[in-house]
Symmetry: C2
Subunit: 106 residues, 2 copies
């Protein structure tokens, strides 16, 4: 395969991989409404702060979230808001799957 094509798919996969975790999706969802500091996100997520910090590092590395110091704390911002649009499509996938299950049963 064309190595350029190869690396384009790898780049895309890296971003999807960064999103592909319930906690990280929750974080993205929250940040799509408003920029938040790590502590706030931790409350929502309900896991160890270190865990949340690691998730944020992953999102940051993928370019989805930007972290900036605000004195004592770190403010997290969604860099590319459009990522949330994808979920309307995702829902379609889920609904299609559900409908097919119903078809099988009925």
């Amino acid at each position: 395969m064309d190595p350029r094509t190869q690396s384009r798919f790898e780049a895309r996969a890296r971003i999807l991989k960064a999103m592909a975790h319930p906690t990280r999706l929750l974080i993205l969802d929250e940040l799509s409404r408003e920029a938040r500091c790590v502590g706030h996100l931790q409350e929502i997520v309900g896991a160890d702060v270190s865990t949340v910090s690691r998730h944020l590092a992953i999102l940051s590395e993928a370019g989805l979230v930007t972290r900036s110091r605000r004195g004592n704390q770190v403010l997290c911002t969604l860099t590319v808001p459009c990522v949330m649009n994808f979920f309307s499509c995702i829902e379609t996938v889920l609904q299609t799957a559900a409908r097919q299950s119903i078809d099988l049963v009925g």
Copy 2:
């Protein structure tokens, strides 16, 4: 956290996780153009057939691809074409990241 919210994010994450692999993205990309059998996809991917079959199983389980027997072979179809739309947004993420790198250097 609300368990209903929890499981909604888990469902979304499962789908993203299924997409989050270069080979599987390549397969989805190919299928977005035309339905293909496993052997054809294997040629494009260039990995062991068993590996491709496993990737297809993952995509199928996520509800992204449907597999149906056509005599000797298995035809793979993209169930929800809109998944490919996401990539325009992904490209935005990549470009934003690239632009920021340039800003840092320049």
